[in-house]
């Protein structure tokens, strides 16, 4: 086994299922599901169009599908993941992009049953998506803020003042 670590090479395209009990290194394209008992590395050039299941997953490439790690998942710089990420330990490095539900902790990798109670995971996982959305919201709220440099707090402060004012008016009545 050790003599032949399994590699899906750079120019290789697999359409179908890849299963087994050993480690796998994906440098090419797998259009289908990967389910192995060993570790899976998805290289910077690797792309997977399906779910990936393994003991430990290291992703530097692109995955469109759910990731299940029995022990751990590491999404490194350059990783692009569209799908859910579940493992006892999940690491998302700066530069990694995720769109999906992230669940860490015991039982998350094996069962995959999600108690969707971690809304904080989503914004933290996809900072590039949040930033433009927030900028648009500010521009819409106040036309004056659109001309000036990025100032996230100001829209919040007027909103609080308005609320206070409304309460004060109610009290006056």
């Amino acid at each position: 086994m050790a003599a032949h670590p399994s590699v899906i090479g750079r120019t290789t395209r697999v359409r179908g299922r890849v299963t087994g009990e050993v480690d796998l290194d994906v440098q090419g394209f797998v259009d289908g599901e990967i389910a192995v008992g060993g570790d899976v590395t998805i290289d910077a050039h690797g792309m997977v169009g399906g779910g990936v299941r393994g003991r430990r997953l290291v992703v530097r490439g692109a995955v469109k599908g759910d990731l299940h790690g029995e022990e751990a998942i590491a999404l490194e710089d350059g990783a692009r993941v569209v799908g859910d990420v579940r493992a006892p330990r999940v690491a998302i490095a700066p530069g990694a992009l995720v769109r999906g539900f992230v669940e860490t902790g015991e039982g998350s990798g094996a069962s995959g049953k999600a108690s969707r109670a971690q809304p904080a995971a989503r914004p933290a996982a996809a900072p590039p998506k949040v930033a433009p959305a927030a900028a648009k919201a500010h521009a819409g709220n106040s036309a004056a803020a659109a001309a000036g440099p990025r100032r996230p707090p100001p829209p919040v402060v007027p909103a609080l003042k308005k609320a206070k004012g409304q309460i004060a008016k109610k009290k006056e009545r």
């Binding site: 086994m1 003599a3 032949h4 670590p5 399994s6 590699v7 899906i8 090479g9 750079r10 120019t11 290789t12 395209r13 697999v14 359409r15 179908g16 299922r17 890849v18 299963t19 087994g20 009990e21 050993v22 796998l24 440098q27 090419g28 289908g32 192995v36």
Partner: protein, 86 residues
């Protein structure tokens, strides 16, 4: 040289296409197309149509083969048509 290795303990069900060498020590079912050499190692099981520049069979191969050079090792199992562009 970087190439594709389907190691022992790995099963691929589907289609594999590549521009580089392929070494199969595990199991492949479906179709295997390479521009370079294909090696099916002793202990490997391939149930697929195989195309490549050259083919070396040391394990078990069931399927049709299209390659310019085909080598079947002593003790290998093979069942299928061979097309060597004669």
């Amino acid at each position: 040289m970087a190439s594709t290795v389907i190691g022992a303990g790995i099963t691929v069900e589907g289609e594999i296409t590549t521009d580089e060498d392929v070494v199969v020590a595990g199991t492949v079912r479906g179709k295997l197309t390479a521009k370079e050499g294909v090696t099916i190692e002793h202990g490997a099981t391939v149930e697929a149509d195989v195309a490549g520049a050259s083919l070396v069979v040391g394990g078990s191969l069931t399927g049709n083969v299209k390659a310019a050079r085909v080598t079947i090792a002593d003790g290998a199992q093979f069942k299928g048509n061979v097309d060597m562009d004669v």
